[in-house]
Amino acid sequence: MFKLNRSLQRKFDLLYLLTYKEITLKYKRTVLGIFWSLLNPIFSALVFMVAFKIFMRFKIENYTFFLLSALFPWNWFLSSITISARSLVDNVTLIKKVIFPRQYLIISVILAQLVHLFFSMPILFVFSLYSNHGISFLAWGIGIPLIILIQFVFTFGVSLIISISNTFYRDIEYLIAVLINLAFWMTPITYPMSSIPEKFRSLFLLNPLTSIMSVWRGLLFENKILWDYLFIALGIAIALLTLGTMIFKKMEKRLDEVL
């Protein structure tokens, strides 16, 4: 195996340990443990399926798969944002008494939640396998790793801004709780892009989650990489990470005054 230089190795170890801690501690005193990360999205999917498939009777072919293909990635975003909003506030002693890059706290949250997404991936895989299109290497070998990377960058950028702002104004986490609900319904997750009236569609594209979810759906549902959406998502993700890093770096210097 290749050898990393020592300081890089240390950073990698630290990130690994923080992520490991994030994963194991979450379900430390539960019976079902990490299976909750599988049960959780399944239960929420069930609720939507009952509402939209049975009650509302959406005329969408294979609605279950249609829903899950965007709902699981959405859950990754949702839990990452919600948990990382408090990750600086909750780690006061660590921040005040130990030196390490603070953004690692946020990265470790997003990575830990990604592991939970991986737990639900087999479900999506099985659905794809039995869908009309089957499994393609393009989608599963290239497309999915790519969109995971893009969504990671996007989520990281957003989380940097939210977590650091929350240390200054604790109102942020309450605001996020409301906004995230709005974002859920303003993103084509439970409904397809085509159900949005034509004149509003470009407006929807301002929401970066729309392009991210569209790419996911394109990959899982049609075995296609929707390059146009992918590049929009990538552009916004990079812009947000740059902005987030700038804000974080600037406000981080005053962390000791507010925590």
């Binding site: 020592r6 190795q9 240390r10 170890d13 630290l14 690994y16 340990l17 923080l18 801690k21 501690l25 430390k28 005193r29 002693t93 660590l94 921040i95 005040k96 008494k97 130990v98 030196i99 390490f100 210097k253 005053r254 000791d256 005054e257």
Partner: protein, 246 residues
């Protein structure tokens, strides 16, 4: 000799936080709303200068609220200067609040690894000296239990053992020279003092003037964010005592 710590015109201000005004109050007080920003500051360190050479042990003394701990957290890097320059060359090992990086639900062993890495080692390096750390802390029978089940003394002993087994280059100490019961106090001091004497650069904040005299070759007296005196430890301490007893 090379300078390990260099501080020039260091100023640290904290905004005076009077109860942050809640929204309701803001609305009630809207008629006297003024856009003037809260410019009141507390000056914790007022343009101080000093340096520490490699292998030196600098003692910092002064009354409560003199700015000693603020200075330590600036040296550690958990806090940033408002103005001025501050340079620290090397790996910093804090002995401030022992076990700050511990997580109560992780076992002693898991906490050793996490904290070893936080203190500057790689995971592999920590694992290599894990046994040494456990031996030193004398809590081998409880090492696989979550640290929330530890007594305060055990907790401190483990944290101390991790800290001194990580090859410190620069020690930043806030009062903590020894932890635990009498026998462990002897043991921890017996490990720490030779480390300091052997040339690990140290900054030692303490109210215990005898200890400062014993281990530090230089001392610095802080009062209200200003350096009142700087020089050999016995000299500075006698000036300080003279002032207090006036």
């Amino acid at each position: 000799m090379s300078k390990i710590i260099e501080v020039k015109h260091l100023i640290k201000k904290f905004p005076m936080i009077k109860n942050q005004r809640a929204f309701k109050e803001m609305v009630v007080n809207l008629h006297r709303f003024s856009p003037k920003k809260n410019n009141e500051h507390f000056i914790a360190l007022n343009s101080i200068n000093f340096s520490v050479e490699k292998g030196e042990c600098l003692g910092i003394i002064g009354k409560n609220g003199a700015g000693k701990s603020t200075l330590l957290s600036l040296l550690l890097g958990t806090s940033y200067p408002t103005e001025g320059e501050l340079k620290v060359y090397g790996k910093r090992t804090p002995l401030l609040e022992l076990g700050a990086g511990f997580h109560p639900d992780l076992t002693g062993r898991e906490n050793i690894v996490l904290n070893g890495v936080l203190l500057g080692l790689t995971k592999k390096e920590v694992l290599a000296r894990q046994e040494e750390i456990i031996q030193f802390s004398e809590i081998s029978e409880f090492i696989d239990m979550p640290v929330r089940t530890y007594s305060a003394g055990m907790y401190m002993r483990l944290a101390f053992s991790v800290a001194i087994c990580t090859d410190p280059e620069i020690l930043l100490i806030d009062e903590i020279l020894a932890v635990g019961d009498e026998s462990f106090q002897k043991k921890s001091q017996g490990a720490l003092i030779p480390l300091i004497k052997s040339g690990v650069t140290t900054v030692f904040v303490s109210h215990n003037l005898e200890e400062v005299k014993k281990i530090c070759n230089r001392a610095l007296w802080l009062d209200h964010g200003n350096i009142m005196a700087e020089g050999s430890a016995p000299e500075v301490i006698s000036q300080y005592l003279h002032k207090i007893n006036q």
